[in-house]
Each structure stands twice: as C-alpha cells, then as structure tokens.
Symmetry: C2
C-alpha cells in the first residue's frame, strides 16, 4: 500500500458517510462518490411522500457534510462497475483508481419478479420517489373532488400500501391522517367522503421485526386511524384498477410499494457470492472474501452473525462504516487487525401516527404517546445538520398544533385530466 493510499467510498448514505468520517485526520486520501449530491435521511422519506416535510428538510449536500474534513473529496458521478484487477472504479466516462474500496451503495425496491408493477405501485427510496408518491396521493384527492360517479370516487379515495414493515406502517398511518384531518378542511365535494387506506402484509403480522405484542398494538393503532389491515395474504397483482389480494381485486386509484428491497448491483460489480436479495456475502471484517482491499457495508452487505443475518437498518450501516474506518486506520499504521465486526443493537422504533409509536430499547418496550415522543426526539437528533434539526422540529410542532401539512405541492408533472361538476352543463345557466 502506498504511504498515503486512496480510499474510494461509493455511496454517501449512512454507511458511506460514517466510513468517510471515521477516516477524518487519517493519512489517507478519502474520495466519496455518489450519483446524487445529497445525503438522504431515509427514515423520514415517508414524511416527504405524505407532504409532512419538504425535501430540503431531510437531505443535505454531501459536500457540506464533509466540508471541514481536509482529507475528504466528494465526486458527483454514477459508478457503473469495478475493475478488481486494475483496482479502479468505473464511472460513466472514465475510471478512478483506488487502493482501498468501500462499497456502500444501499438497496432498491424489489418487486419479486414483477418489475412491471413498479409503474403502478412506486416504491420509496429516493427524493424523486417520495415526490412521485406525494404527487399521486395529492392528485388522487384532486380527482376525487371533481368525480361525479360515486364508485369511481370511492376507487380514487382508496390507497393500498403493500408491505407491513416500518415504511408501510408509517406510510399508511400518515396517509390516513392526511386524509381524515388535514385534507378534510380544504375540499368541498369529498369533505364527507371517507378515504380508504388498506395495508396489505403477506406475513402474519405488521412490523415483523418487533415483538408480537408491539405488532398487535401497531395494528390496533392503525385501525383507530381508519386503516384496514390485511394480514397473511400476498399481493398477487397490481394494475391501474387496483391490487389483487387473496384472489380479490381491491379497487384503488393509488398503490404504494413498501414490500421488499434488494441490494444495488454491487454483487455483479464484484463478481462475488450473494444472497437472494443480491447482497454481497462478506467476511467477519466486512471485506469481500479473497479481496482484503474491498469492503462492502450496509444494505449491500450480507453478514452472518450468531443472531442471524444483520437487517438493512441505518444503525447497522453506520456501525459498519465506523468499523471499516477503524480497520483501515489500523492498516495505515500496520497495527493489529480489529476484532470481527459486532453489531450493538441500539433498539428499534417505528411510528404509526400522532402520539402512536412502538419502541424497543434493550429490555424496554414502549407504545403510545411516550414512544412517539421518543421516536420524534431520536429522529430529529439523528437528522444530519443542526439547521435541519431546528427546521424539522418547528415544522412538526406546527403540524401538531394545526393539523396542517406544509409540503402539499403537486409539482413536476403536467396535471392529468380531471372532471368537473359543470361537465354536464355545456350551456350557461
């Protein structure tokens, strides 16, 4: 290894940023490559999708985050492959050499072989995804407002969320709140109509990663918000009419996907062993077996531990990034290799709506208002940037007091045709 090696980190999510920061002050050149210029606080992406927060409130430019780290550089670019023999990362129009490589490219939605569903049931991974969801949700209300046919109006006001993990639970809770409270004030024709939010989970309970008692609580809390929770049946079809569940069509104007993820193309780049979700199987020190200069972390990595395969969670990615930083620092000074990576489970949180959340913290299990406060504090605390924290806090305080949603803009696309009650009156009255 050269005296001042170059560490290339692909991906500026929780894992990649954590690795870059762990190398602050180290005698290495750190190069962070991402195809977007911003780090995204994904746990709050559902808030952008449901018009609670604006994109700028949950995203920060990667450059700003690393501005004060003298040995770090940031490159905006899309990685298309890795040349392991030449030790270079291929971008669209050239390649970038590395001495050490950290792959932290995250995950994308998985439609379990039904990629054609993506068009009608978009997922939630990027800001663009969130804005597309927001557009569809808000447009559904606009169309229902001018729809004369009661059946079609009901269909337009039906939202099916596929997948009962934290994202699905948070999304369906937030849509129900948006529909029943914030929007009820602004519309005339559908003021008294009822939006119908359906959460579909193939497994026997929502929030399967939480203890069963908390899953039951979450289901009850969702039902209190008016969400219909369907358990034990997978979705077998998605099209413009609705979703098919258990052989029956749920007519719905808006389908949202929160059911599955698969790792981005890193396993292909590295030609290495991967699991069913295309995650790269890594050694206990998070390197690719046989490639000590290549690390894979976060949602892209498959690490077997005594407690099972580690899940794709932000804390896992962060801790793995920090660990890889420590391994590299140790190598720089020819120190002993650190002990294998061990995940310290910091607990898990998920929210359902106003004053409803579930928290597991060591032996502690919380539900209800206290859990919700904990969830809010934790999320604001971990949001990158002092400024974002202040702004998000204010926004939430405001929404809480007024039941208002600040980010209710439909942008980015021309409006689709809508109908109007005057449609049948061609002549003036």
């Amino acid at each position: 290894m050269p005296s001042r090696p170059r560490v290339v980190i692909v991906g500026a999510g929780f894992g990649g940023l954590s690795a870059a920061k762990a190398l602050a002050g180290a005698n290495a050149e750190v190069l962070v490559i991402d195809r977007r210029n911003h780090h995204l606080f994904q746990p709050l992406l559902y808030q952008v999708a449901t018009a609670g927060l604006a994109p700028t409130q949950i995203a920060s430019p990667v450059r700003s985050i690393l501005a004060r780290q003298a040995n770090a550089q940031v490159i905006l670019g899309e990685v298309t492959g890795v040349d392991l023999a030449a030790r270079a990362v291929r971008l669209e129009d050239r390649s970038v050499a590395y001495d050490l490589l950290v792959v932290a490219t995250g995950a994308t939605d998985s439609y379990f072989g039904h990629d054609d569903w993506a068009q009608v049931a978009p997922g939630l991974k990027t800001l663009a995804d969130a804005l597309e969801m927001r557009r569809r949700i808000l447009l559904a209300f606009e169309r229902a407002e001018v729809e004369q046919d009661p059946d079609e109006q009901k269909r337009l006001l039906t939202f099916v969320v596929v997948g009962g993990g934290p994202t699905g639970v948070e999304l369906s809770g937030a849509i129900a709140e948006l529909a029943h409270r914030a929007l009820a004030r602004d519309f005339r024709a559908i003021r008294n109509a009822r939006a119908n939010v359906v959460l579909v989970e193939a497994g026997p309970r929502v929030l399967p990663a939480f203890p069963p008692a908390l899953s039951s609580y979450a289901k009850r809390a969702l039902e209190r918000l008016g969400v219909t929770v369907l358990l034990g049946q997978p979705v077998s079809g998605c099209d413009t009419q609705g979703a098919t569940v258990g052989g029956q069509l749920i007519e719905a104007g808006t389908l949202l996907w929160a059911a599955g993820v698969q790792a981005s193309g890193a396993a292909r780049w590295l030609g290495s062993a991967s699991d069913g979700a295309e995650r790269v199987v890594v050694a206990p020190d998070l390197t690719v077996p046989g490639r000590p200069e290549v690390f894979v972390i976060g949602d892209t990595a498959h690490l077997d531990t005594p407690g099972g395969v580690l899940p794709g969670l932000a804390p896992v990615a962060k801790q793995q990034g920090a660990y890889v930083g420590a391994v590299i620092r140790s190598r720089l000074v020819n120190g002993p290799p650190p002990a294998p990576f061990r995940y310290r489970d910091a607990g898990a949180l998920a929210t359902i709506g106003r004053q409803a959340a579930v928290v597991v913290l060591g032996g502690l299990r919380l539900t209800g208002a206290l859990a919700w406060v904990l969830w809010s504090v934790a999320h604001i605390y971990f949001l990158i940037g002092f400024r974002n924290r202040i702004m998000v806090s204010l926004d939430w305080a405001w929404s809480y007091v007024t039941f208002e949603r600040g980010a209710r803009l439909i942008t980015g696309y021309p409006t689709a045709p809508v109908r109007d009650e005057g449609a049948d009156r061609e002549s003036p009255r």
Copy 2:
C-alpha cells in the same frame, strides 16, 4: 344574469386569487381553475433557483388559501380555450360554464423569436423552472470541480444572465454570492478559482423601471459582488458554448434567461386585440371590449393609462383582481358601475444581495442596507400564509448569519458525466 351566477377565475396567481378573495361572501359561486395546485410567490422564485429557499417556502396550495371561503371552489385543470358564444371554458376533456369570466393566466418567457434558445437559456416562471436553474447552477460547480482543463473549468464557472430587470439583477447577485461565499467552503479544486457572473442588458442601464440614480447604484453593487455588467448590447446568440454579445462569444457553461415576457394564450382564446407581448387590450373597467362578462387582469392585460401601459407587477395584478371583485359585487346588487380602474403605485423594490437593494416609495428613494431591510420585510409580509412567513424569516436569518444555503440539492435528473482527477490514472498507485 342568474340570481347566483357562477364566476370562473382562470389562474390562481396574484390577480386571480385577489379577485376570488374580493368575492368572499358575495352571492356568487366562485370557481378557481389552475393547472397547478399551488399559488406561487413569484418575486422570490429566484431564491429557489439559487438554493436560498425551498419550493414549499414560496408556494401554498390554492385549496388551503381559499379553504375558509364558503362560496369558493378550486379545480385543478388546464384550460385550453374559451367558447365565448356558449360562455364556457374548455378544459382538456370537457367544459365548464360561466356567467362571468376572469382571465388571470399570467405571462411566460419571451425569446423574441428565438425559441430554440429556451433549451440552453431557461427562464424563470414556475417552480419547475426554478429547480431546473438550481440544478444547472449546482451541476456547473460539480463539473468544474473535477475538470482538468483550465479553459473548460473557466467556461464551466461562467454564468451569463440575460436581462437587467429585477429578476436578472436578483439572479446574478444571488449567483455571485452563492459562488463566492457559500460554495467556496465546500469545494477543493475550485476553491481558489473565480466564478464569473455576467449580466447582459440590451438597454443603457439595469433596472430600467427605476430612477437612473438607483440603476447606477445597482450596477455598482453588482460589480462589488464580482458581477460583470454589460450594457447597451443585446444577446445575438445562445448555444451550448455560451452567449454571443456584440458579435463576441462569451464562453459560458450556464445561460439563464430573464429578458422578456409575453402573455399566455388568452388573446388567442378570446380572439381579441392584443399588443406586441400578446396582452389583451382591455377597457377601463378591465373587461374585453364588447364582452362585459369577460375580464382580463394582471400580466395578461394591456391597460393604457395616463401614465402609460401598466407594467406586469404583482401589485398591479392584485389591485386589478380586487377591482374586478368590486365590479362584480356591484353588478350582483344592480349597483352603479365603479369608476374606471386606477393603479395606486405602491412603490417598487429590487434586491442585489446581502444588504444591497433599491427602493422607490412615493418620493422616497433608498439604497443600501436600509433598503435591503425594507425589501426583506415587504417580501416576507406579502408571502402568503403565516407559516411561510415564519419559516422564510428563520431561513433568511440563518443564511445571513452562516452564509449557508439550505436548499442546495440537485434533484430530478440523472447526473451527467463528470471528470475526475484520477481519470488519467487507470492503474493503482
């Protein structure tokens, strides 16, 4: 006219909203149609384009604004024409009958017959425009950062703003500040390079609507910020290499258009007389001559007054909307027609940058820090919605103290190829 006539207002800008609000409580059905779901505070659009504010901070859903007005309905839809004989507005898939019609559709950019320039020199009328400008400006810095060729780097760091009216002055000042202060911290390679902002105005001075002394001040203030101001020469060419001014090519990676506007297609819809900017020539009561049931207001209207044709400014549109509301209210009770519309000039403001602005207020003429404070207070005051006011104030206070820009996200498009200093090193070191 029926006992409870329907007033259709096309466009929810300053003029349309003002007309709708002036009809609150009147015995009429008010139907506001807009192709977007939000009212936009256009005077601050340049702040979104230069990453100072987020879209949600200068836009509010039209529904929310009119939620408490019982006789108002809001329809999301695109008007494609007007059937004057049948008294109906045509939308994409049907028509909406009216008894009285208010056309307030605003203006779009004018390229003076060079519509092909729009691709390389985008204008600034909608949120989508502003986000596209933001994307181009931020991407230019990203590309310059990894560019090896000094000439190309200089070209990438050159921004040409066409048009020396308020928008052009505000844009070029904001880009210069963004480049010289906020971004200087975050980049490595271009930290010591100088961004080059060129403002091109065909006339003899910037801010031609202001007194000459204020124009001179604005020019000096821009130059203090590092902006090159070129006066007296029109742009004769725009392409991907740059802009041609006075027969000479200014090599620039980013061109922005703030030079001219034309009214949207209302004159065509109404088949009525229009001026060179396609504005509908209206009678002193803002009706279309011969069509007492059709009003045209704001940027779409051409009204001759003793002081000349009224300019396309927000206060003009607002006052005209309120006036039309009063005319309609008077007709509803068979009252006497109000006196012809008279514009009360409330003054004019434009800002150049931190602590630099110009203000004309009756006989008062201000420049410098005091003018800037006045400008800030006025703009925050007129921003619709209490919430937006608080948030924008906080954002400005924060930016002022920290020189930071909060909304620096590149979204919406895949990144274009960028180059990297490692490009010439295919092998590992």
